[in-house]
Each structure stands twice: as C-alpha cells, then as structure tokens.
C-alpha cells in the first residue's frame, strides 16, 4: 500500500485551475521534494494532502484512508507557512495542547521531551510571543514531530530558519527517514532538499511536469531539473 496516493486532483479558485489533474503515488519511506516556482501550486497541493483544503475533483488517500478521517490525520505531521502556535501560551502549554489533541498518553512528558530535543527546555515556561523567530520555528518543528507521524508534510520548512533550527530540522528529517517515515516537502532551498530527497516532483502551472527518483545529477546541478522541465 502506498503511503500517499493522489488521483486526478483539480483545484479551482473561481474559474482559475490552481491544480490540474495531479496524480502522484508515494511509497512508504520515501522523501519527496516538491519543487516548482512561486505560484506553481505546491502549497495548494500540500494543503489538500494535509486535509486542510478540499480538492474540486479527485482525491487523496494516505495509507489507503481518506485524509479527513480522524484516524488518518493522527498519522500526519504538518508544518505549513504559519507556525500554528499560540502567542499567549507558553512553549509547554502549546506542545501539551497538541499532545492532547493527538491523544498522546502522557502529554506533559512528551512536550518536555520535545522541548529538550529542540533545545528549548530553558524557555519551556516562556510565552511564545516573547520568543525569537528561530525559537518559534524550532517549537513549530517540535509540534509537527510531537506525535511521531508516519507521513510528514512540510511547506518551505527551511525558510526563515536560523542555522541552529536548520540543523535541528535536518537531523529530525534524517532520523525520520531512517525510521521509514514518509516525507513530502515543498521548498525553494534546492540543495538542502535534494540532499535529503529520494524522489522529486516538479509542479509547473498546477501540473506535474516531472516525477521520479532523485538522481545525483540533480544534486550536483540544482538547476538541471528546471532547465529540462520548466518552461522559460
């Protein structure tokens, strides 16, 4: 069974088709770099995969189940453009909240473990509104990994991260990959993404222009894919 199956997905905003007949199968354990220029449809596709938006046509299944089922969402970790954390709550309170929403057995303990893993244990009781941007991003990464999801969906995960946060995220992604988790991430940071990726999907104007195994040629020459499959 595929970790992710996208079949004939279209998404219209008014009359404008943001996604056109997207079809993609992702095997468990793959790390897929979702590439494309600004406005290509990467975020729209990730939101549909995450169940945050409904496709106009077509469907998405994660491990064979509809993404809007509660049981399916328990297996997904999402990190979007926003950090999805409450400024008025402390780091511990935010993570404990999400641990409870995901039905984890020991929310407080899990929150503390992740605060330590992301280097935020000293500010565990500090309000998020007082955090630096890098600290907020690390906390958001902890939130996405908190429930040990099978499928990780990241939208521009390296954007606006400081060096420490990038190191934390790369370490966690590598660890998740080693443990057989499926990762789909959209990014403009080609070098970082292609080093981690096992597969690549290039979206052009709402359509899949290329999908396949990531080759060493792509890593060595990050512009190769765009030159060969992206229109000028």
């Amino acid at each position: 069974m595929n970790a992710l199956e996208i079949h004939g997905v279209w998404k219209y905003y008014g009359d404008f088709p943001a996604l056109r007949n997207i079809a993609l199968d992702v095997t468990p354990g793959s790390t897929v770099a979702l590439l494309g220029r600004n406005g290509a449809g990467k975020t729209t596709l990730l939101r549909i995969i995450a169940g945050l938006s409904r496709p106009s046509q077509g469907g998405v299944r994660i491990h064979g189940s509809d993404v809007r089922k509660d049981v399916t969402r328990r297996r997904i970790g999402v990190l979007g453009h926003g950090i999805s954390l409450y400024d008025e709550l402390s780091a511990t309170e935010n993570l404990t909240l999400y641990a409870r929403l995901y039905g984890l057995d020991e929310p407080g303990k899990t929150a503390n473990e992740w605060l330590e893993r992301t280097g935020l244990e000293r500010v565990r009781d500090g309000l998020v509104r007082e955090f630096s941007r890098g600290m907020r991003q690390r906390l958001a990464v902890a939130r996405a990994f908190l429930h040990d999801p099978d499928v990780l969906l990241f939208d521009e995960p390296f954007t606006a991260l400081d060096d420490r946060a990038i190191a934390v995220l790369q370490g966690l992604l590598a660890d998740a990959h080693q443990r057989g988790r499926t990762i789909v991430m959209s990014t403009h940071q080609l070098k970082e993404a292609l080093i981690l990726a096992t597969h690549v999907a290039l979206i052009r104007r709402g359509e899949i222009a290329y999908s396949g195994v990531r080759t060493q040629e792509m890593v060595d020459d990050t512009g190769w894919l765009y030159r060969n499959y992206e229109e000028n």
């Binding site: 354990g29 509660d70 926003g82 057989g180």
Partner: protein, 255 residues
C-alpha cells in the same frame, strides 16, 4: 549502483518497516469530552491573558446600559415593558465582540490549520470554542445585570432562577449561531460587520423568546403556562441550531 538508486532501494526496503499498525478508529465519548474541554481551556486561558474580548465586551455593555438610562425615565412603568428587549439587545451587541474574536484568534500564526490537521473532530473543536464563548458571554451578562438593575430601578431578585434559566438558554443560542458564523466569516476582511449582519436575523426567534421571558420575570410574572411556550421555543431553537452547527462545521472549516 548509483547512490540515488541505492537510496531508492533503501526506501523500498523500508516500506515494510514503515508500515505501522493503524491507530484505532474513532474516539470514545470520554475522549470527545476531553477534547472539548482542552479547546475550551485553551481559549479561556488565552482570553484571560490578553483580556481583549472580555474587557471590550464588558465595557461596551456597561456604557450602553448607562447611556440608555439617560434616555429613559427609570421610574416610568413603560420601562418594565421594554426592559427585556433592552437587556437582550445589549447582550447581543456585546456578545458579537466576544464571538468575533473566537475564530479570529485562530488566524494568528495559522493556528486554525494546526487544529484542523489534528485528529480532533471538527465538532469537538467547535463545541470547545462554543463552550469558551458561552462562559465569556455569561460572565459579561452577570457583570451587566446588576448595573442594569441599579440604573433602571428593577428588582430581578424575585424571579432570579427563572431569569438565570432564560439567560443560559438565550446565551447558548447566541453562542451556537455566533460561533458557527465566526468560523464562516473568519477569512473575510469585513468579518466584524458580517458577523452581526448574519447572526441577528437568525437569532430573531430566540431573541423574541428571551426578551419576552425576561420582561415577564423583571415585571414579577412567574414562569407558568402562559409563558412556557417561549421556554419551549428557546429550548427547541437551542437543540436545532446545536445539531445543525455540528453537522455543518467540518464543511465550514475545511474549504
């Protein structure tokens, strides 16, 4: 074998290892209740720290009650006839300030996406937020009530418990409709205007009931066969709009 193919093969080998037991489907009533409380506690804690909605709502309510008291003669008998209407208009307008903040709070940092991506059912999220709104509205109303009695020379203590019953039922109606439309208008630029525009017309049956019953109780008329029909209407309204809101909330939140 090229490194990329080795990685791809490695991924394929991991496929079996990656497949973990599927989590148990569905949640128990206890878990559902805990989720509702988790969301309500989060909203109440946030509100207690910022006091954005509650301060604005209480201040607005008291200012309007004081200003109206200058317009009407507190000793007139006519005042009792429209006291219920006046009180519920103030509750409704002050309530809009609380309800507007309900889902607007979730737009900061895209928190709504975090909630919707979680396995918590949309109905639990909705009921949790409704519970928090209900508590905040009740606080506003119980702060406003003594001010109302003081400035309008009304004696509500004789029918206190029936009045509390009407306040609970009427506030639940306002909360249900207000929370669902707060979710619907959360991404609109003119949501502060749109929310009252959508909510008040739908609230007419509930407001009529609450106003009539409140006027009766403030006039010393007890709960009896004559005004029981309004209680029944209020209860039916609450049940219907709670059920409808729960049924549609997933479609409202996931566009």
């Amino acid at each position: 074998m090229p490194a990329s193919e080795q990685r791809a093969e490695h991924s394929a080998q991991q496929s079996t290892a990656a497949f973990r037991a599927e989590p148990a489907a569905g949640i128990t009533l206890t878990q559902f209740t805990q989720l509702i409380w988790t969301i309500a506690a989060k909203d109440l804690r946030s509100e207690l720290r910022t006091k954005e909605a509650i301060n604005a709502s209480v201040a607005f309510s008291i200012v309007i009650l004081v200003l109206f008291s200058f317009a009407f003669d507190p000793s007139s008998e006519q005042l009792q006839e429209f006291s219920g209407g006046l009180l519920w208009l103030v509750f409704s307008f002050a309530g809009a300030l609380v309800l507007n903040r309900s889902f607007a709070r979730e737009t900061q940092n895209d928190c709504l996406d975090g909630l919707l991506a979680s396995p918590a059912p949309a109905s639990a999220l909705f009921l949790g937020k409704s519970l928090a709104n209900f508590v905040l509205l009740i606080v506003v109303e119980f702060v406003s009530l003594p001010v109302f009695a003081l400035f309008y020379n009304l004696h509500w203590s004789g029918q206190f418990w029936p009045l509390v019953l009407v306040m609970l039922l009427g506030t639940w109606a306002l909360t249900m409709i207000g929370t669902v439309f707060s979710a619907l208008t959360v991404n609109l630029r003119l949501r502060e205007l749109m929310l009252p525009t959508l909510v008040y017309p739908l609230m007419i049956p509930a407001l009529m009931s609450a106003m009539t019953l409140t006027t009766d109780f403030l006039s010393g008329i007890p709960l009896g066969p004559d005004n029981m029909i309004w209680v029944r209407l209020l209860v039916a309204f609450d049940f219907i709009f709670t059920a409808v809101s729960i049924a549609v909330i997933d479609s409202v939140l996931v566009g």
